[in-house]
């Protein structure tokens, strides 16, 4: 080694998180998991394409009580059913729980945990990489669905709702990711716990009358959906059972609190827990 450099000041928590973010983003974007992410987000695009082709033939693809449903409503339903109820929570589970677990499984965590940065900064840096990675893949898919489903003539009147959709999807990804980052940092089998939360607890709590739904993320994410849904038929019945809209500000504050508290607890968990690698 050549003449010693003066010791630099160890990175602050924020600087450490940003450095880990830079290191992790490329790895995350080119991982096998992102191929899965592309497949999942490609499904609604494919359906939107089919709807567009059918529409081009003159056949109305969706009717409620005999009345045609316009493109804006179809897009709203796709956002609600595909993205908010399935894609966003699933991505949150698969990416969030793996932020630390993947590094342990690949036995690369040692390189990060033997650096002069707090372990919590590693978690936060990787979480930020997750938010950017999933947003970069999910939002273009939503944009494609929008322009495939909504006729050009309706763009002007639906664009504000569309922009709000993009925002709430990003918020949903952030909230689910933060919760499952905590689960991944604290539990030994985080994926199972995450799937039970999304496909068990949230599904049940949302349909049980009372306050239980307040202990789900879906309740607050759905509260932000800006679309007017069909007012009659099965879709309306479903909506009336599943949706009970708290005010938008409450939803935003609740989701921000979920992100903040989950990351705080996740940082504490990762800094106090021992991670034993398989030999």
């Amino acid at each position: 080694m050549s003449a010693r450099r003066p010791l630099p000041t160890p990175p602050t928590f924020a600087t450490g998180a940003v450095r880990v973010f830079s290191l992790s983003l490329g790895e995350m974007l080119w991982s096998r998991r992102t191929v899965f992410l592309l497949l999942v987000t490609g499904a609604p695009v494919f359906l939107a394409l089919v709807a567009r082709i059918v529409q081009g033939t003159g056949v109305v693809p969706l009717r409620v009580n005999g009345a045609a449903v316009d493109g804006g409503s179809i897009f709203g339903m796709m956002i609600w059913l595909f993205f908010l109820r399935f894609i966003v929570p699933v991505l949150g589970v698969f990416y969030g729980t793996s932020l630390i677990a993947d590094e342990i499984e690949d036995r690369t965590i040692t390189y990060l945990f033997t650096r002069p940065i707090r372990r919590g900064a590693v978690l936060v840096g990787k979480y930020l990489a997750y938010v950017v990675c999933t947003t970069l893949v999910v939002l273009p898919s939503v944009v494609l669905v929008y322009f495939l489903v909504v006729p050009i003539g309706q763009v002007a009147q639906t664009f504000t709702a569309f922009a709000a959709d993009l925002g709430l999807l990003a918020l949903g990804l952030a909230a689910y990711g933060a919760l499952f980052a905590l689960v991944g940092a604290a539990l030994k089998r985080p994926l199972v716990s995450g799937l039970v939360f999304v496909f068990g607890w949230e599904q049940i709590a949302l349909v049980v009358p009372g306050y239980l739904k307040r202990f789900t993320i879906a309740h607050y994410v759905q509260g932000l959906v800006p679309h007017a849904m069909p007012s009659e038929g099965i879709a309306a019945v479903l909506q009336s059972v599943l949706r009970e809209n708290p005010p938008a500000l409450v939803c935003i504050l609740a989701l921000a609190a979920i992100v903040g508290v989950s990351l705080f607890l996740g940082v504490r968990a990762v800094e106090s827990r021992e991670y034993v690698l398989d030999q």
Binding site: M1, P10, E27, T108, L112, F113, T114
Partner: protein
């Protein structure tokens, strides 16, 4: 002053003891940590690098506790045993990114990474993806990430594993140079010969306890009493066997797929001869020379009985 001191250090995994009441003080310079697999060497390395929290006792590295003290890693470099990487990154990207975690700005981190990569003789392959590296190159890039931030203390876990004989020799020389430059080195191995080529100061660990520490010479004498097994991976196994059989001290030779296994009573002379053969290139490449744990186990059995 000791670079590493442990007091009554113990670690349990549930009911299983990984390390038992270890009190040891390691001075500056090069120290070898020697022990067979399952001896507690790996647990000891994880405790002194702050990856595990002691169940009992304490670890002080460079005078400070290591668990929950990330700032101390500014002064410590660690080369882990596991063959694990971000495979899609190039060697240069990987070392630069990890060096950047020490608070160096982008350019300084890149320069430090380039210097470390040159020190381990990987400059030509630096811009290739790590996934395409040979085992020896992977070992060397791991060393580069450990030294790039110029640590005062270098902790190397089985650093020569998977290297060919020539690269082993160069790496041993390099480690000694780092030590001469003022960096203390703690190096673990299950091969006495490897440790002996770097230092006479060793700590012997077995069954989670320190069996002996200090000068290696009396241990070294024991090794001659136990035939030393060496596995050589080469496509020219028969030609190399013919050449080696002429050497003194060869007890047996047997062929295995992809190479041969030799028992020798004179490991020093044997390793030197294999390195010369590799350097001459007369018998094609010698990809790897490894020594199973059995050698050390025999010495340990003797020590424990004594």
């Amino acid at each position: 002053m000791s670079i590493l001191a442990t007091e009554h250090l113990s670690k349990w995994y549930g009911q299983v003891s990984g390390l038992n009441d270890v009190t040891v003080s390691i001075p500056a310079g090069i120290t070898g940590l020697l022990g067979p697999n399952g001896a507690g060497k790996s647990t000891f390395m994880k405790l002194i690098t702050g990856q595990l929290r002691p169940s009992k006792g304490q670890v002080r590295l460079l005078g400070e506790p290591i668990w929950g003290n990330p700032a101390l890693y500014q002064r410590v470099g660690f080369c882990p045993e596991q063959d694990a990487f971000y495979e899609r990154m190039t060697g240069r990207e990987w070392v630069t990114a990890l060096t950047g975690l020490h608070g160096l700005d982008e350019k300084t981190a890149a320069d430090a990474a380039a210097e470390a990569i040159a020190a381990v003789e990987l400059t030509e392959a630096a811009d290739r993806k790590i996934g395409s590296y040979s085992k020896g190159m992977r070992q060397r890039i791991k060393l580069a990430q450990a030294i790039a931030h110029q640590p005062e203390l270098l902790i190397l876990d089985e650093p020569l594993s998977g290297m060919d004989p020539l690269m082993r020799r160069r790496t041993v020389k390099q480690i000694k140079e780092w030590a001469r430059g003022g960096t203390s080195v703690l190096v673990s191995s299950h091969i006495l010969h490897e440790i002996e080529s770097m230092t006479g100061n060793i700590v012997l660990i077995n069954n989670g306890r320190i069996v002996a520490e200090g000068d290696v010479h009396h241990i070294r004498d024991l090794i001659d009493e136990h035939p030393h097994t060496v596995s050589i991976r080469t496509p020219q196994a028969q030609a190399i066997a013919r050449e080696l059989l002429a050497e003194e001290g060869i007890v047996s030779v047997r062929f295995e797929p992809g190479g041969l296994v030799v028992e020798t009573a004179r490991p020093d002379a044997f390793y030197a001869r294999v390195t010369d053969l590799a350097a001459s290139g007369r018998f094609g490449p010698i990809h790897e020379v490894t020594s199973p744990d059995d050698n050390l186990q025999a010495v340990f059995r003797y020590l424990v009985k004594a």
